[in-house]
Amino acid sequence: MDKSQDSTFVKLIPFFEKYGILLLILIMVTVLHILQPDVFLSWRNITNVFKQVSWQSMLALGVFMVIVTAGIDLSVGSIIMLSLMGLAIASKAGMPWYVVMLVAPAVGFLCGLFNGLGITLLKMPHPFIMTLGTLYIFRGVGNLISGGVPITGFADEIRVIGNGKIKLDTILGEGTREYIPTSLILMIVIFFIFWVFLNHTRIGKWIYAIGGNPGAARAAGINVNRILIIVYTLCGFLAGIGGLILAGRTNSAYPNAGLQSELDAIAAVIIGGASFFGGRGTVLGVFAGVMIMGILRNGLNLMNVSVFWQQVLIGSIIIIAVYIDVLRRDFSTRK
């Protein structure tokens, strides 16, 4: 009865809910292509966007998982810096490249573990407090071990993750300059792994359950603290991977690396449709959120819009994106 009376519009709502954000990207790309027909959709520019978002997307993915549990991680920007510094010092100490490459994710892992243990064992009233503390601690430690100065110059093997190019000679013919950045492949692989983790494993399901109702999760026999420690550790680990990518991109470890990037990560997650109250959001949404931020910045740069206007725009988009979500929820709960 009810269903036959639904208008086409109502029937389309679930579709928009799922893929509306991809539609938004499509619109952005079309508009930018019209405004900058020669540049925007060029291979060079597109790979540039992907290279830019690759390290940021690692932070966003980690913060997303944390936000699904109704938590927050403010320290990821500092974790990326500390893992970058750890990598640089290992490199300077002359360790073999494969050890140096492991240092960044390992440092990130330990930082995340520290957050997770602090939040659960010290019974912090909110993860905001613990990770605000470690935001300062990790960056401070990073500056202490590096002496507060940049460390530059890494071996090519180390840089391959962030700066590597997969040449397309064999497909597009000899001498072509088109290539796929290694970091894009890495980003796709990692997003796929975490999509499987969150949607097709029990721990992934429990992460959503904790965000929905931690009491229900506990009553179901789930060790909530253990899951939270896993989530924060993975978040740190991803930030460490971000550090590894950044090392390749910039060939340098510098004191301001990742400064305020935790806010970009949170913004991407929110734009991607995750709920700040936990339990809601998808990996695809995070990817879309990251791309929207990346495309927007890139497009505005191409059109020589000042950085200040970019800040105003990104801020507005966060508010509009969440407001649309509020409207949608209002609409779908009215029966």
């Binding site: 399901k205 929905g212 109702n213 009491g215 009553a219």
Partner: protein, 248 residues
């Protein structure tokens, strides 16, 4: 109703410091029986249920499951013996679909190499079978719990409690938070469980609930067994009297 006793509590006492919450309380329930437990606030109903489910350890007395004396150290132990509790606050995750809630923490998985992946097809199938068995009507097993009415949520909570062959289900005020028209559905569900051979202990303040589903009713008063009767041998007024500590 068979006379097979599935759960028996003998001379249970529970002290919290100098306070006596339960004093020499006895309770038994047979297979497929619905037992109503009534009593004023502070009469010891909740404490008794927490002892039965293993959340509290009794200070004195013994518990027998199907005739075997048991020691419960946690709710896990009583769950393994087939006793499930439906909590008043429902303990459901609203953001998850019905099936996910029913199987939360006990999800069916399939092995792929060294990894365990969720078996979505099996979960959906088991959910549909289980809901059909309990005659619970919902649009779809994939519907999110937050989209359900209070009565439907209560039904999901009961479905969750009985998904793994529970023999005894304890329900704490199962109709307290429901709209009037939904109460009947939950009561029907209790009768369904009974017909499936599940024993149900219902704690309720509502005489309508007690008198429409229970076989027997027992009253606690100030932590002791005050009165007990087959439902057919008593009346509402008498039971209300018991709650207030009055006996003819």
């Amino acid at each position: 109703m068979s006379e097979e006793i599935v759960l028996e509590a003998q001379s249970i006492s529970k002290f919290f410091g100098t306070i006596t919450a339960l004093n020499d309380v006895n309770l038994k329930i047979t297979k497929g029986e619905v037992l109503g437990v009534v009593g004023d606030n502070g009469a010891g109903k909740s404490t008794l249920m927490k002892v039965l489910s293993g959340l509290y350890k009794q200070s004195e007395g013994s518990l027998f499951f199907s005739g075997n004396k048991v020691n419960l150290n946690s709710p896990r132990d009583s769950q393994n013996l087939g006793l499930e509790m439906v909590y008043q606050d429902l303990a459901l995750a609203g953001n998850l679909p019905i099936g996910d809630n029913i199987f939360l923490g006990r999800e069916p998985v399939k092995k792929v190499g060294p990894f365990n992946f969720l078996d979505h097809t099996k979960r959906k199938q088991l959910t549909e079978e289980h809901l059909a068995k309990l005659k619970i009507n919902v649009k779809s097993a994939d519907q999110k719990v937050e989209e359900l009415s209070g009565g439907q949520r209560q039904a999901v909570a009961i479905a969750r409690a009985t998904a793994f062959n529970a023999k005894i289900v304890i329900m704490d005020e199962p109709t307290a938070a429901l709209a009037v028209k939904e109460v009947g559905k939950v009561l029907d569900l209790i009768l369904n469980l009974k017909s499936l051979g599940v024993s149900v202990i219902v704690i309720s303040h509502r005489m309508d609930d007690i008198f429409s589903v229970c076989d027997r009713v027992m009253a606690l008063f100030q932590g002791t067994n005050f009165a007990e009767s087959l439902l057919k041998d008593t009346s509402r007024d008498e039971v209300i009297g018991w709650i207030m500590g009055k006996k003819d």
